[in-house]
Symmetry: C2
Subunit: 218 residues, 2 copies
Amino acid sequence: MRDQYHDELDAITASLVDITRLAGSAINRATQALLDADLQAAESVISGDAAIDQLYADVEARAMDLLARQQPVASDLRTLITSLRMVADIERMGDLALNIAKVARRRYPASAIPSPLHATVLEMGQVAQRIVTKCSSVIAGRDLEAAAELERDDDVMDELHKRLFTVLLDPGWKGGIESAIDVTLCGRYYERFCDHAVSVARRVIYLVTGERVAAAEF
Amino acid sequence: MRDQYHDELDAITASLVDITRLAGSAINRATQALLDADLQAAESVISGDAAIDQLYADVEARAMDLLARQQPVASDLRTLITSLRMVADIERMGDLALNIAKVARRRYPASAIPSPLHATVLEMGQVAQRIVTKCSSVIAGRDLEAAAELERDDDVMDELHKRLFTVLLDPGWKGGIESAIDVTLCGRYYERFCDHAVSVARRVIYLVTGERVAAAEF
């Protein structure tokens, strides 16, 4: 029985990695949609969110089922409860990519990001991609080094997020109010996307080391 | 043993109500801080968030302890897991009130909300207050009627949120870019505050009826 239990626990971890990859693919396509006014990319993120939601519901059901049937204790219980929390974070990452794709679709055929901000948003997309890739490694291999790097990447994201506002508030900003709203919202979505990845990494660190990393005020 | 177990479960529910009240008090003071440029109100929300975080950590620890010691099954297990999720939603509501208070502090001694938007933001604050009060009733008494009302209040919040953008995008908008950014962010914070309350209400409905309410794409 215990072996089957651990197989099921491993299968849940594998599903967490799968859903993280889907969220990563979503944020990449959302960034492309945003910068290139690529409607097809935006639509693929929007229609693809259902697969993330389905996998989320599936992981939840399997974790609840394991909890009820096997009544795990100690570290197994902690792992399972942590999986339930991580999957909620990752599902939310998918929603944030979806929000970005919707901004891109709303502004099509124009790009929602005026050209003076293209480079910064491109970099935000790249940092988000790095973060989500490391997030997968952290979940799959409990890789504490990747978790530490992920935190540093998140600091870079925070700097890029501040840079958006510096450009928006420059007297030379000619993008108008509508663009400022879009940029403000997209900046927030990227930042939150990465916050959730940080949260996942911290949960894994806590599982491995028992040391809780101080939660920043998101 | 079972009686003590249910006492502890009831105590967790009571703590969820307490933390919801704290989040409600925070959003009220944050709205006041925002509209009246009331620095003292803003500071009280900012310093008060630690109490919400502490109560959150406390509820988590007690729920995990109960899970490990009592190994509940069936509806008791579901109640406990749901409590863990609800407390995360409510803690996040506190963070969103904190974010609003920080916007108010950043703009002090000016008000972050230009006068043409005062009435709308005041109404958003009032709707948030109604929603959080109903959220407490839903948790404390599993009140399905209050849960249904809360959903309707959330629709009102969504309308108010749209109204903000209508004003910002009116050619007559004279508030400038900085104000547009503040209004966009605060609008998002109020909306998310209420989304989390809806999420709590839906979790309670699911506990009571076993029927999952379709999650809107937040």
